[in-house]
């Protein structure tokens, strides 16, 4: 049997392989022009689904974003809108 005894998981962060993106009814769309890279959406995303690179907004992790819409509500520049999938 290849299972690690005790139900221990020895591969950290393996949940990344489990995609929660298909839970989504609404998807976030970013207005790149309006975005000021303030990272507000990143700090409030419950699903770590705002990808940031070098301190700048890069993308939404659509494989995992559950479409809660928090990012749209907290964006100080109203740069994110939620649209029906």
């Amino acid at each position: 049997m290849s299972l690690v005894p005790g139900g221990r998981v020895i591969e950290p962060g393996s949940a990344l392989k489990f995609e929660t993106g298909d839970w989504r009814s609404f998807r976030p769309i970013l207005d790149r022009e309006a975005c000021i890279d303030c990272m507000t959406c990143w700090i409030y995303c419950p699903d770590d689904s705002v990808i940031v690179n070098d301190g700048k907004f890069c993308d939404f992790r659509m494989t995992h974003c559950k479409g809660c819409g928090i990012c749209a509500k907290v964006c100080p520049k109203k740069a994110i809108t939620m649209v029906l999938e």
């Binding site: 962060g13 489990f18 989504r24 700090i43 770590d48 809660c68």
Partner: protein
Amino acid sequence: MSKSPTRLTSGHRLCAGCGEGIIVRQVLMATDKPVVVSNATGCFEVSTSIYPYTAWNVPWIHTAFGNAAATCAGTEAAYQALKRQGKIKEDVRFVAFAGDGGTYDIGFQALSGALERGHQMMYVCMNNEAYMNTGIQRSGATALGASTTTSPAGSVIPGKVGYPKDLTMIVASHNIPYVAQVSPHNWRDMIAKCGKGFECKGPAFINAMSPCPRGWRTDPSDTIALALLSVETCVWPLYEVENGNYRLTAESAKIAEGKLAKRPLTDWLNAQGRFKHLMKDKWRDLIEDAQADIDKKWERLQKLCKL
């Protein structure tokens, strides 16, 4: 901060808009030291460790429901022993996460014991005011009048009977070095407080307001707005007790100074489906009682902060 390593990955299975994911990410940003996490049974534990996956990039352990503090204390005791023998070199931080059920109720004894013994650990309660994992049953943290599946809004009894216990104050009475109330809408306040909690000498306790769209009957996108509202209505004042000294922080400090308006409790109640039944005329007295209770506690807290 955005460059710090991801300790909790995507792919966990919390509800969309859950406050807990936001809180844990912020708490773990408050230290750059290695952390070992303990977790009580509850939404967060279940959602982040569904076999064969784990959302954890750090060592993590869950044993049972009523013992997150003892679990954390056990990892810390092992660390103290191995560190003393030179078998471990790193400077490690120990943190426990639990819901209000695992903290206010079934885990209270273990928490009190661990605090009294003085383990080097930080305990974070994520308070969503009911047992959400098992389907919204009332807890010792449930607000007066809130409708839950074990305190339903009936025709005779209007939801939860009695006020929630003031656990933060109870914990502060253990005279541990650091105690604070936080809310995820104010991440600066949260991270500053957790930073103190991680670095103080002895146990620290953080009580975090954690909006729950499912249990509160609110829109997932409103989680942060509700967190803010809990503070603006003084339902959840932000404060810390550092070595016995009480201090209001963030929005709560501004309300005390008159720089920010204290909003009426009805704003808080109206925003959530779990309180909808209270809007009927026949429960008006109950709302007045609830407001009076909040005002009384707020006054007392302000007095403590002036000492």
